[in-house]
Symmetry: C2
Subunit: 180 residues, 2 copies
């Protein structure tokens, strides 16, 4: 399976780039405006959801880098890892799934917070913010778009790791390894 | 694979119950309070995220019911479906994954909106709501908990459908069916 291993590496590298891009765009987003003679600054720290997104996406980038390193090492010592291969595949599969779900959820939470910043909530007297901090909001929108691209890449990666794991098992009996 | 098929049915039935429970708890959640001599009512319609959650979770419940019906039909005509089995498995796998991701994301968006209702956002002058609408907030918290349980069940279901699909494929060559 050389072809799919290469595709996997490309997907992981792109996912790392998009995660880092998202974290940087959110983390470095700030705008200062003078409102009623008082300078007010909007940063990602104003809403917890943005702070969590920065941490989650950075962690996801680091995790994917570690997986890339693991791929380099295991390609070199492939002969020695045959027995432990299935356990490593299980751990990789579960971590990939977890990363995909958590980054997608963190991104959606930040998206909801951004929607509230754009529309406000009249019933609750939460005012709109994006008519004042326009540039801040556009940068945040770009960041969320990158975050969704990264999440979709991560979902594809988790499909491949599911394939690599489950194709070793029998289709007749559940969780019984194939005879080779 | 009789054992795992039964587990799958139990998981889907529980997922349907939890999705319906979530949709009902969110949809029927309302509280009226008198604030400064004016009666104000909080319902799920005040925040878009809650409305979306009701629709998404209802759709997920309907989808799982349809899958349960499909399971009943395909069990009866199993002989006739062998050739089309792999395509049906692919569609089922993709829809299961999609449902798992979307309900998880909708739930997380609603969770973020609820966190804002509990904590408020001082910088943006968004005031807290849960110190006034306490019962409303507790019911919403319970609904979100049910929603997360349903999402985790859906993730397990999508694991099983990934297994059912990918265990039919060769572990040596990508997307090549096993010889049987």
């Amino acid at each position: 399976m050389v072809g799919i291993a290469q595709v996997n590496v490309y997907l992981r590298v792109s996912a790392v780039l998009f995660y880092v891009l998202t974290a940087c765009l959110v983390g470095l987003d700030s705008q200062t405006k003078i409102i009623f003679f008082v300078a007010r600054k909007a940063t990602y720290r104003d809403l917890e959801a943005f702070g969590i997104l920065v941490y989650v996406d950075s962690a996801a980038a680091v995790y994917n880098l570690l997986q890339l390193c693991k791929g380099l090492i295991s390609a070199r010592f492939e002969g020695n890892l045959k027995g432990a291969y299935i356990y490593i595949s299980w751990i990789g599969f579960l971590l990939d799934q977890l990363t995909a779900y958590i980054t997608f959820a963190a991104n959606s939470a930040a998206f909801e917070a951004s929607v509230l910043a754009v529309t406000g909530a009249e019933e609750f007297q939460w005012m709109k913010l994006c008519n004042r901090f326009t540039r801040f909001c556009f940068q945040m929108g770009g960041a969320l778009l990158c975050g969704y691209v990264a999440s979709i890449l991560m979902a594809l990666i988790s499909f491949i790791s599911a394939y690599n794991l489950f194709s070793n098992y029998s289709s007749k009996r559940f969780l019984r390894l194939k005879k080779t």
